[in-house]
Structure formats: C-alpha cells, structure tokens
Symmetry: C2
Subunit: 218 residues, 2 copies
DNA sequence: ACGACTTTGGATCGCCGATCCAACCATGGC
DNA sequence: GCCATGGTTGGATCGGCGATCCAAAGTCGT
C-alpha cells in the first residue's frame, strides 16, 4: 500500500539516476533492482520509459559525450582545438569510466556521431585533403576509443582488488621487469617508463603523434 | 547415472571448447551451461580447471593472440613487419570478434603483453628514439585496440538484426546523409565514403598515419 | 587392498533482465 | 459532476545466468 509517486517519472530522470549509479559503483551497480530502489518505483514504470538496459546505458553515455563536446570552446587554432577536444573526452572518460567501456562497445550511436563530427570538422579546418579526411578522422576516433576502453578497464581493476594506482603500476612494472630480457626485450626495457608514466600525458603524446602523421600526409 | 568421462578433462580442452562456442554464437553463447552440455560434464568439473568466466575468456583470447603473433613472419623491413603484424591482428579480430571486445576490456594480460612486445620491438628496430618509444608503442597499440572494439561491436550488430554488411552500411550512410548539413557538415559530407569504405583498408590507412607521425618524431 | 587425494557431475543459491498484469489516476465527453 | 478511457505505475513472476557446494567415482602411493 505504498503511496504512489506524483512527481512525473520521466526518461530524463531515469537516465540521470542511472548515471549516478554508474558513477558510484561502476557498471555492475546499474541494475533495474537498484534503479527501482533509488527511484522508489517498480520495474514497469522504468520499462515504460526505457526500452531495455542497453538503451539506458547508451542514453547515459550520449548525455555525457554531448556535454563534453558542447562545453569545449573552439579556439581559432584547429590544432589546439583538436587537442582540447581530445583531452576533454579523455577527462570525461576518466571521470566516468563506464562511458569508455560503452563507447568501445556500441557503434553508430549519437555519442559517436558527435565525436566524429567534432573531430572531422577540425581536421578539415586543419587542411587535411578531402581524400584523406575520412580515414584520418576514423583513425583518430579509434585511437581515442582504444584509450577509452583501456582506461575503463584500468578503473575496473582499481575499483576493486587493487589499492591505489601508483602501487598497482609499480606491481605491473615489476612483473615486466622480471620478464626474460631475451624473450621480451622491449617490455623489459620500458618497465621503468610504465611505472613513471602519466596516462593523460601519454594520451596527449599519442594525439600529437597522430597529428604529426596527418601533417605528413597533407 | 550417466557414465563418467575417461578422456582427461583439461583446462586446454575447456578453453578450446569455449573458443568454439564464442566463434559459433558470439559472446552471449559462452555460458557454463552450454559448456557442460558440449563437454558432457558438470559445473564442478569445469570450475576445477578454470577460476571463473573472466579467466576462461582471457585464456581463450590469449590463445588467439599468441597464435597470430607467433605466426607472423618478421621480414627484414621493420616497417613492413609492423604493417603485417597490425593486419594479422585485424584479421584475427575480424574472424573472432569476441577477441576484440575482450582486448579492449581486460588490460595487463598476456595477450596485451605480447602485442606490446611485438609492436615495441619493431618500433625500436625502426629507429624510434628511446624517449618516444614507450609513447609511440602505446599510441599504436591503443589504435589497434580501438579498431578491435569497434569491429567487435559491428560484428555484434550484424550477427543479429541486420542482414548483411553492405546493406547496413548503406542504411547508416543514408542516415548520415540526411543529417542537417549546417549542424553536421563533416558527417554529412563523408557519408558517401562511409558507404563505400573497406574496413581493412581504412585500418591500414590509420596504421600508416601513425607510422608517419612516429617517423616525424624520429 | 586400503586410505588419502584428485577429479567429476549435478543440485542448489542468489541475482539478473525482462515480461506481464492489476491497480491507479488524469483527462475529456456528456 | 461523473464515469469511461487510456496513459502510468508498482510489484509478482519467469527463465537463465555465474557461482558454490558436496557426494560419488576414480586414481595412486604404500
């Protein structure tokens, strides 16, 4: 005989609640049971506004990405703007790792469309020839998606099991250092850099490598 | 009172059966129930050899990647070898999309270690300076992972719901073409290229962009 | 040949996404 | 002013999942 809600339950409210659950407890925390509890409602009410769980995840992701891309101020320099957009995406995914996992899983959705549009337009402004534009945008977006997925995976590891990032990196670096230098010369050699590296800086270094490659094609 | 198996059930056999299930029916087809049926055994027997489902997926992925990287013949030219390795990974992920999804989800596993090692060693042979080696390898690997994830996602879309690739691409391209050119100038413009593009060729174009960028750093 | 240890098969648990339906309530025709 | 109608809501329920647990069956050392 619980009382009925009077404040309209809307798709918007549900998506927002879903995003909060995801931020708080990771991807595993988003369940319809948890949603009914948080929203003090039942399954039927939620399913009335949302098709299924994929729909919900995708909608939440679209929201976050749209916020990032509309929030970025496009300066006069396309090169600088590209780096800003890329960093904005990185930071958003860093703050909401579930977005990263979702992006590298559901293609052809509004979020990805917006990312392609922003990236492609800036590459065009940069003077990339028509011929190479499509491939270049695809490559850059895929790089961002790759980093996004790895970031999300790392966040999952750190969320439960591992103490802090520094200690975890040190552990993996130690494993790399202990590998046979004859069989794994590269990994063995760069283990120190792994321990000391900064994800954000390395991400930007990758963007710059890509931009240099684009410039070479121009 | 079913008879007991006499051919030793081993981790190897289980991982192989898991890979077959994944190849046949996608990621959703890998369940312990399906495994018990296919192997004519029970849950206990499987859990005796395998820690959990993640362990199983990771082991199957490691197998596929190891096969690719050991199978690639390294020619004299490091540049050509890098492209060969990248294409080998692309083809393997194309043939087993679940590998792509897994790679962009579980970091610090043997499969990714092997990929880093192969990539890094070849970049080193290419003459990339010590300073840039770590970042360059990271960028290239992340690009491959990004494509891997998208490929896996596309395969999932095509596996159920959509008829064939050409028709699906045409549909998405049509949606892109119908977007407002004022709001989505880039996406609108390249919609034709989307319809006509070849995934494999575009992947290789992206690899070349990165290699050009890395050469610029040299 | 007997006991300790390993391996196997299946019953069972708790949780999940999804479906379904009865109760509820705002709105509009009369 | 009242009741029929159709868009909402809450919760019982279903089948399937990963995981745990245990008794039975095999294996091996002594």
């Amino acid at each position: 005989m619980a009382k009925r809600r009077t404040d309209g339950l809307s798709r918007e409210v549900i998506v927002k609640a879903a995003a909060e659950l995801l931020d708080d407890g990771g991807e595993a925390a988003l369940t319809f049971r948890a949603l009914t509890t948080r929203l003090s409602t039942g399954y039927g009410a939620i399913y009335h506004h949302v098709a299924n769980k994929s729909d919900l995840l995708a909608a939440a992701t679209d929201d976050v990405i749209a916020d990032v891309l509309t929030g970025v101020v496009v300066t006069g320099d396309p090169l600088e703007a590209l780096r800003t957009v890329a960093l904005g995406l990185f930071d958003a995914i860093d703050a909401h790792p579930w977005v990263g996992a979702q992006l590298s899983r559901e293609p052809w959705r509004p979020a990805l469309l917006e990312i392609y549009e922003s990236t492609g337009r800036l590459l065009d402004a940069l003077g990339v020839p028509e011929q190479a534009l499509f491939d270049a945008a695809g490559a850059l977006v895929n790089y961002v998606l790759g980093v996004a997925g790895q970031n999300a995976a790392n966040a999952r590891v750190l969320a439960f099991g591992e103490a802090d990032r520094t200690a975890f990196l040190a552990k993996v670096a130690a494993q790399w250092a202990e590998l046979d230098p004859a069989r794994y010369p590269f990994v063995h050699r760069v283990s120190t850099r792994l321990r000391e590296h900064d994800d954000r800086a390395q991400f930007l270094a990758g963007v710059d490598i890509f931009l240099a490659g684009i410039a070479a094609l121009r």
